[in-house]
């Protein structure tokens, strides 16, 4: 168990990070992600409130769907990256990162329901099949769908979302039945997985982590996430500053780098090209699926072409690398 954002969480369960990671890509695992925040925003003004606060456009979706979006600071830095579950017309569950929950609450008001529920993420090509043993309905929630579903006679919210690049669902359940659902998932053959696998999976899937690829001084444009921004939906927090970045062009860009060999690149390593420093890594690890190292890095815009040869300085040793498109590992299903 390790401390994580104010919570105690397992790094891995019995089998270790690599085994749990591979199980997610081949079968199904469950993560206890109850540490994430849930902010319930409801009422007639809820939708407008979120439209003005976040970058993405809820008019692209309808009630019963989920959307990935950003909360920006006035300088267009990403304060948090968020999934919004639009449950019904006037009810939204906003899911910030654990450590940013209070910042998000400040921005949108709403009711912090984090302590009253648990969130279990069941991910993998066999996730739905195994979840079916507990609940047919939960197993059928479509990708990016959001549904209220009774599991063991208690109302839960289930969404077709995840952070692994695999198909799967996330179950938000009242704490009273959380353990029962977790036990039932294990009995259905789902393998429990911890923080270690969560990070290697999201890295392979090319998904950003706030505090690494997103954060102070980093806008959605720097991180290659321009698609999260709805330029024409009307005003939202940070819009003016973001336009300025768009006009001048970001001075650095996020890229994926594959390194040769098993030695993992890590965050905070210098990236060089022909002897000149061109950037710095933000995340890095060994990829259990690919059997070599992978990393995210911010580099100067002249060197972002896939195929560019670079070196990453890992504690004094240069790793040979190549700029690649992400995700590093394509989704297998869903």
């Amino acid at each position: 168990m390790v401390p994580f954002g104010g919570w105690e969480m397992p790094l891995s369960y019995g089998q270790g990070t690599v085994a749990e990671h591979l199980k997610c890509r081949s079968d199904a695992v469950v993560f206890d992600v109850s540490h994430l925040g849930t902010v319930r925003v409801s009422g007639a003004a809820a939708k407008e409130n979120l439209q003005r606060a976040f970058t993405n456009d809820l008019d692209k979706i309808t009630p019963g769907r989920a959307q990935y979006t950003h909360l920006l600071d006035s300088d267009a830095s990403v304060l948090d990256d968020i999934i919004v579950w639009w449950i019904d017309e006037e009810t939204f569950d906003v899911m910030p990162n654990a450590s940013n929950t209070s910042i998000v609450i400040e921005a949108i008001s709403g009711h912090d329901t984090t302590e009253s529920r648990a969130v279990l993420a069941v991910q993998g090509p066999c996730a739905r099949q195994r979840v079916q043993k507990l609940s047919d309905e939960a197993s059928e929630v479509p990708r990016f769908g959001v549904r209220r579903i009774n599991i063991f006679g208690t109302q839960c919210v289930v969404a077709g979302t995840g952070y692994t690049g695999e198909d799967g669902i996330e179950i938000a359940a009242p704490v009273e039945i959380a353990e029962k659902i977790f036990d039932a998932l294990l009995a259905a053959g789902v393998t429990p997985a911890g923080l270690g696998a969560r990070d290697t999976l999201r890295l392979e899937a090319g998904l950003p982590l706030h505090g690494h690829e997103l954060g102070a001084g980093i806008t959605p444009l720097h991180a290659g996430l321009g698609w999260v921004v709805a330029w024409n939906k009307g005003d939202f927090r940070g819009r003016a500053a973001l336009f300025a970045v768009r006009d001048s062009g970001p001075h650095r860009m996020l890229v994926g780098i594959s390194t040769s060999g098993r030695r993992p690149p890590r965050e905070g390593c210098s990236v060089t090209h022909s002897g000149h420093k061109i950037g710095i890594t933000t995340s890095g690890n060994f990829s259990p699926t690919l059997d070599h190292g992978i990393a995210f890095a911010f580099v100067d815009p002249d060197h972002v072409e896939p195929g560019t040869a670079v070196e990453i300085d890992v504690r004094g040793t240069d790793l040979q690398g190549l700029v690649v498109t992400t995700p590093f590992v394509m989704k297998r299903s869903g």
Binding site: L11, T17, V18, A19, G196, T200, R263, P264, F286
Partner: protein, 126 residues
């Protein structure tokens, strides 16, 4: 924790199998458990001089890097190259197939600094 009685140990969680003037070295069950899945081993090169307490290699897991410290004074005479392709042997068989390297002992008095299995067990509170 598996702590074989026929081996010696260091406070840096390495085991040593003494065999006359040579020694075979690896990391203990306690070390592999704390490290997690080993994904890369930076093997020392053959011929390298090893000094007691000085780092001469690295073992890297998904979550961290650990230095390997010289348990004895001597010279590296063999390395376990199977760890290049299957570093996870350090987790699954730390005292057998997961061995790290062999040293020709230069100063046998340094062997007296090693811990017995009983002393190592006490150190890790087993």
């Amino acid at each position: 924790m598996n702590i074989p009685a026929d081996l010696h140990y260091t406070k840096d969680h390495e085991w040593v199998r003494l065999n006359g003037f040579t020694a075979r070295i690896g990391i203990t069950d306690y070390a592999q458990d704390a490290l997690g899945d080993v994904v890369f081993v930076n093997l020392p090169r053959i011929g390298l001089d090893v000094l007691v307490g000085e780092s001469f290699g690295e073992v890297e897991s998904t979550k961290s890097v650990s230095e390997i410290y010289g348990p004895l004074a001597g010279k590296v005479i063999a390395v376990n190259t199977t760890l290049d392709e299957t570093p996870q042997l350090m987790n699954s068989d730390p005292y057998g197939e997961g061995w790290l390297c062999e040293i020709e002992i230069g100063d046998v008095s340094t062997a007296e600094l090693l811990l017995s299995d009983v002393q190592y067990r006490a150190l890790i509170g087993d």
